[in-house]
């Protein structure tokens, strides 16, 4: 029978917290950038300007057709080299965090843009007509009338995607970056307590994601109650 020994965890907590900060940092950057760039992509895709629509569609289809882990590896292998040569950085500068953030952000934008596109399309066409009839430009109609309604409908989906994203940040272990999962792995490896550390990490991921999805569900209920008026 395997003897569990949890004693290496308390001492490793500060190190694990550093890892958690990396995970959260990547998640936050990717969510913010993903929503901004995703909105731009969604609007391009819905635009009547053909080249823009084509670009956005290609971008989304490309990123949705390749595994995240591969994107991360590319960014880990290629982007640091490019950054270093372009910005003439010291070859020893650690750009793994930046490249992980960029990789995640670009990848997640493709998913966010699909959520946002559906959100924009869920706003009745008459709303744009009404805004236009009041003399608003297309940009004003989008900004003041369509997007606020679209985002309000989308918040649960956007947050759910953020939860998935948070779990996916564990994939940065491929670049040996010490995110929360990477940190747990390192500690477990060092102390020969891999099973305990991975169980612990799993429990932490579960606790955070479960709590977050409960919050999303509660928000969604509130939203539905509001719409039902």
């Amino acid at each position: 029978m395997y003897e569990f020994d949890w004693s290496s965890i308390p001492g490793a907590l500060p190190f694990l917290w550093e890892g958690m900060k990396v995970s959260l940092e990547i998640t936050l950057t990717a969510v913010v950038f993903g929503i901004v760039w995703g909105t731009a992509l969604a609007m391009m895709r819905l635009s009547s300007v053909k080249p823009l629509a084509f670009f956005a569609a290609s971008y989304v289809n490309l990123f949705r057709a390749i595994p995240l882990v591969m994107v991360l590896l590319w960014f880990f292998l290629i982007v640091p080299q490019l950054l270093k040569s372009f910005l003439s950085l010291d070859p020893n500068t650690d750009v793994r965090l930046t490249s992980a953030m960029v990789g995640f952000a670009l990848f997640e934008s493709a998913y966010y843009s699909e959520i946002i596109r559906a959100g924009i399309q869920s706003v009745p066409k008459g709303q744009v007509a009404a805004a236009s009839a009041l003399g608003m430009s297309y940009a004003q109609a989008m900004r003041l009338v369509v997007l606020p309604q679209a985002f309000r409908n989308m918040v649960p989906l956007l947050l759910t995607q953020a939860i998935v994203l948070f779990q996916d940040t564990s994939l940065v272990y491929v670049s040996a970056l010490a995110d929360f999962f990477g940190a747990a792995y390192k500690v477990g490896d060092r102390d020969g307590r891999l099973v305990e550390l991975l169980l612990f990490a799993g429990a932490v991921y579960f606790a955070i994601c479960f709590a977050a999805s409960q919050l999303v569900r509660r928000y969604q209920k509130k939203l539905n109650a509001h719409v039902a008026h």
Partner: protein
């Protein structure tokens, strides 16, 4: 005020409007009626450029709607439009619905816009609902807010696209009353509606459309008294027997 000259429109090979010509003078109230699918809503949406058209020309107050050089947003900002499904902005309070375009399009101050909005809200009898959201009002109330929203822009004319067809019967009159009052004040109006009572009360002329063509354009007395075309006679017989 509004001049529609030989306007035609098609979606692909489907002809929606054929050679439509009509004039609306300042202060006139024109009712556009006809069976569904006759192109009346499309025609009225061409007037403020919400629907493009392929042939002919429309000028509003001397400005050509079809001309690509025309600043359509500017033109629309002083042509009021009321829609069948109200199209209030559901994420804004009633006061914000009334104020937003005044502030963002006409550049009025927020106080000015609020002030004007509240006055108009009072006029359509809904002052007590100022702080509510559109979803909390009945259809008739929403449509009255929509009329107030259009009036807040100080329009030179008003377009109504079936303003009562999405309403329950008991709410139709509260909206028509507002429209009648507006007509009596001398607002230039073009109304797509099946409300023949409204037409009898305030219309100067009635335009009857069928299959994308303007079949009759006559004074209301002539239209209701002795419609010239067989199609209009049938339409009137059916709608009045309701």
């Amino acid at each position: 005020m509004i001049s529609i000259e030989n306007v035609s429109k098609h979606y692909g090979s489907f002809q929606v409007l054929t050679d439509c010509t009509a004039q609306v003078k300042k202060g006139e109230v024109i009712v556009v009626c006809g069976p569904s699918g006759s192109g009346k809503s499309t025609l009225i949406k061409c007037v403020n450029g919400l629907e493009p058209f392929q042939a002919g020309s429309i000028t509003v107050n001397g400005v050509s709607v079809g001309d690509p050089k025309t600043n359509l947003s500017k033109l629309r900002s002083h042509v009021g439009m009321v829609f069948q499904h109200f199209e209030l902005f559901p994420h804004m309070s009633i006061t914000d619905n009334l104020a937003i375009a005044q502030v963002k399009v006409l550049g009025r101050s927020r106080e000015q816009a609020m002030d004007k909005g509240l006055k108009l809200l009072d006029r359509v009898g809904l002052k007590a609902h100022a702080g509510k959201f559109p979803g909390q009002l009945s259809g008739g109330q929403q449509q009255r807010v929509a009329i107030a929203r259009a009036l807040a822009m100080d329009p030179i004319c008003m377009l109504f696209d079936e303003p009562t067809s999405a309403l329950d019967p008991e709410m139709i009159n509260e909206v028509l009353d507002v429209m009648v009052e507006l007509a009596r004040e001398g607002m230039t109006m073009m109304c797509v509606t099946h409300e023949m009572g409204f037409a009898r009360k305030v219309a100067n002329r009635v335009i009857f459309m069928d299959q994308g063509r303007i079949v009759e354009d006559d004074s209301k007395d002539a239209f209701f008294g002795s419609p010239r075309s067989e199609r209009a006679r049938q339409f009137l017989a059916r709608i009045l027997s309701h």
